[in-house]
């Protein structure tokens, strides 16, 4: 097996695991901001309980987002040093902004939010969660600025074989950026909303005593999913135009594609410049899932007078639909990323020039090591998430009030 293939496999594995968790992070944090703000404004205890329960799941899920994100960030240097060498002047900038402007603040705020219950003023505590959410969105935006540049390089010039930045504004108005960002945000809201609906449906099926709480989160989750799925499909189809124009090889044949392949063959030598069919098959299934979710949400009117809960079988539909958004987001990324093969930067830098010049044994060790590690952590994390979701909202560890008679307790109280 050659180094290039192993490096691509590693990137695919890490990115896929990463996105399964960050989609939930981005979706759930939006819903958390909603419920905590509602609690702050109305003062109703149910919102505080919702925030603690869903916040706990959010925080458990967040762990894998960081762990995989760290590996992703270092992977560029470890496995794709050619990318840094030839296009780092342009591609590195949005990622640097992402880490420094968004991630550093996001994690700092989250640490204070987790430990700030009953310690900070309620307004400050709420502001921290808003900070977490806004920086999470900023993070997604800057990562997509970087990714959009790989899809369609703009705002640069080549001097001495190396790309130099000429127009940063062009990176922000990249035709492969705007709709994609909307699509990713909508997909995250669908994923987060579906998770919330499915867990609530599970508790309603089991007739957990917390009826009012899970009824509320079922409504919040389903309504969010319903609104987001419309945006999701809209932003999805809106991308076909601009992406097909700048990437004629992505969605199949046509005279544009043949002309471009001829141009590349003249410039880079003969080679296979057509992406594998895998990407378009995946795209088809993703669209199918999107429409499936859309029609599935025709059950939303059953929220009226709780028919959805009283009939019971719609709850099962909601619960069993949970895996679909996760499958769809992976297929979506495969369509976008595999669809630009064989390019690391479309039409500019082929993957075989971007990969690091390291031995295949080393790359294999790294692939197996990171994939096993992150895969095992992902499974463990899902088990923990499932257990905490099933445990219900009786007393989550997050935001548990400290022991009352503090004067006699010099030590922290562990529960």
């Amino acid at each position: 097996m050659d180094t290039l293939f192993l490096a691509r496999l590693q990137f695919a594995a890490t990115t896929s695991i990463h996105f399964l968790f960050v989609a939930v992070t981005l979706g759930l944090v939006t819903l958390l901001v909603g419920v905590q703000t509602a609690g702050f404004v109305t003062g109703k205890p149910v919102y505080e309980r919702l925030t603690r329960f869903w916040g706990q799941l959010y925080v458990i899920n967040y762990v894998l987002g960081i762990a995989t994100g760290l590996v992703m960030e270092f992977q560029f240097g470890l496995n794709w040093s050619g990318l840094s060498r030839y296009v780092g002047n342009v591609f590195g900038a949005p990622l640097a902004v992402e880490t420094l402007v968004a991630f550093v603040l996001e994690s700092t705020f989250l640490g204070m939010w987790i430990f700030g219950w009953h310690r900070l003023r309620r307004g400050v505590h709420l502001a921290l969660l808003w900070g977490v959410a806004l920086t999470a969105y900023a993070s997604a935006f800057w990562v997509l600025v970087g990714n959009a540049w790989l899809q369609h390089p703009v705002g640069y010039e080549i001097r001495d074989g190396v790309a130099h930045l000429t127009d940063f504004g062009a990176l922000l108005t990249n035709p492969t950026l705007g709709f994609a960002f909307g699509h990713v945000v909508a997909a995250s809201l669908v994923t987060g909303g579906m998770l919330m609906s499915a867990v609530s449906a599970f508790h309603l099926i089991r007739r957990t005593p917390d009826f009012a709480l899970f009824r509320k989160s079922l409504r919040i989750g389903l309504l969010t999913t319903a609104a987001a799925v419309v945006l999701l499909i809209g932003f999805g189809f809106a991308q076909f135009g601009p992406v097909g124009q700048v990437q004629p090889t992505k969605f199949g044949g046509g005279p544009d594609r043949d002309a471009l392949v001829a141009e590349w063959t003249a410039k880079f030598g003969p080679g296979d410049y057509v992406p594998p069919t895998l990407s378009n098959v995946g795209l088809g299934f993703m669209i199918l899932i999107g429409f499936g979710l859309f029609f599935g949400l025709l059950i939303v009117p059953l929220l009226w007078r709780d028919w959805l809960i009283r009939l019971r079988f719609p709850l099962w539909v909601v619960l069993l639909a949970l895996p679909f958004p996760f499958v769809a987001v992976i297929l979506g990324w495969i369509a976008r990323e595999v669809g630009r093969q064989p390019w690391a930067v479309y039409g500019l830098l082929p993957v075989d020039r971007a990969v690091s010049p390291v031995g295949s044994g080393l790359m294999l060790t790294s692939l197996v090591g990171f994939t096993l590690l992150l895969g095992a952590l992902a499974v463990t994390n899902w088990v923990l998430l499932a257990r905490h979701a099933a445990r219900g909202a009786a007393d989550p560890a997050l935001g548990r009030p400290p022991a009352p008679d503090t004067d006699t307790h010099p030590q922290p109280v562990f529960a």
Binding site: L64, V71, G77, G88, L95, F103, G111, V358, R400
Partner: protein, 335 residues
């Protein structure tokens, strides 16, 4: 402009070693916590700071990626095994600390704590090996290609990795004397005091091996720096030991923090103006200017990022201020 970014990179990296250093130090010390309560007390002391500490690693990596892309690619792929080990360690610590208290069972928690110990060990050794590797150079060719990974396996690198491990352990123990309830702090002050001589020995061994190594002597452009800064490190450790003896935890923690920041300064200053020294072709060595992004990128990042650095530090300072002091009955428990 490169110098500003290089200084910023150094600042982020040093901050990471100081703050992440006590995460890993506390992680290592979980190995001696016989009871679940003692281990959890240590993690509660880390509490609100934990998530804010490792962000400096991400900040340093982001700065490398944006402002020093060429350096980033050659540094990380050239020292692949060290970076791989360190990253596996960081991932284990991140997941272990945050997930260990989610299961209720004592045995599951003890298993997660072993994961944290192993992760802390790997992270400290890995970053130490990277710093040692930088000081002895690597077989780098002009096309960015590095000959194998055997260059990393030398006594000097091993000594630096071990020295980093001991420094991190001292840092963790000193941090706990600052944060644990007064009753628990005294026994940790004794542990920290006993760890200092071990760290001194390891630092001395690394220094001597460095002086004896041809590769280190060739790579170091400023020998005076390379001798004076280890001496400063020794002084910092001695100050920490004395302060621990007098129960002045704040002074001791400042000193051990200096001891963790100094290696970054040492590597940056001793190699300057180079950063990657090639042992096979001196012309292929990478200077800071060669490794940096071109001018438009650096000035763009300067406009976007530099104004925010005070905010980053400010919010971290807010976190330290809000959660200052020793943990007590009102301390939030989550990890």
């Amino acid at each position: 402009m490169e110098l500003v970014w290089y200084a910023l990179l150094g600042l982020f990296l040093a901050t990471y070693l100081v703050l992440g250093g006590y995460d890993y130090g506390v992680g290592l010390l979980l190995a001696r916590g016989a009871t679940e309560e003692r281990r959890r007390a240590a993690l509660t002391a880390l509490g609100p700071f934990f998530l804010g500490n490792e962000v400096w690693l991400v900040a340093a990596a982001g700065t490398l990626l944006g402002a020093f892309p060429t350096l980033e690619g050659e540094l990380l792929s050239g020292f692949y095994p060290a970076v791989f080990g360190a990253l596996v360690g960081v991932v284990l610590v991140t997941a272990g600390v945050q997930l260990r208290s989610r299961p209720h069972g004592a045995s599951a928690r003890a298993a997660w704590d072993r994961v944290v110990v192993a992760g802390s060990l790997l992270a400290a050794l890995g970053w130490g090996a990277l710093l040692g590797g930088l000081l002895q150079g690597l077989p780098l060719h002009a096309d960015g290609h590095v000959d194998g990974v055997a260059h990393l396996f030398t006594p000097f690198v091993a000594a630096v990795a071990l020295a980093m491990l001991t420094l991190v352990a001292v840092q963790g123990a000193t941090f706990l004397t600052l944060r644990l309830p007064a009753a628990g702090a005294a026994s940790l002050a004794r542990v920290a005091r006993r760890l200092v001589p071990v760290a001194l020995t390891a630092v001395a061994a690394a220094t001597v091996l460095g002086l004896l190594s041809d590769r280190v002597r060739a790579a170091v452009a400023r020998p005076a720096v390379a001798v004076l800064l280890p001496l400063a490190l020794v002084v910092a450790l001695l100050v920490a030991r004395a302060a621990l003896g007098q129960g002045r935890s704040g002074v001791a923690f400042t000193a051990t923090s200096a001891a963790l920041a100094l290696p970054v300064v040492l590597v940056g200053a001793a190699l300057w103006p180079r950063v990657l020294f090639s042992t096979v072709d001196p012309a292929a060595s990478l200077t800071v200017a060669d490794g940096a992004a071109s001018e438009p990128t650096l000035s763009l990042l300067g406009w976007l990022v530099l104004p925010l650095v005070p905010a980053l530090l400010g919010f971290q300072a807010m976190c330290w201020w809000v959660f200052r002091g020793r943990t007590d009955g009102r301390a939030p428990v989550y990890w």
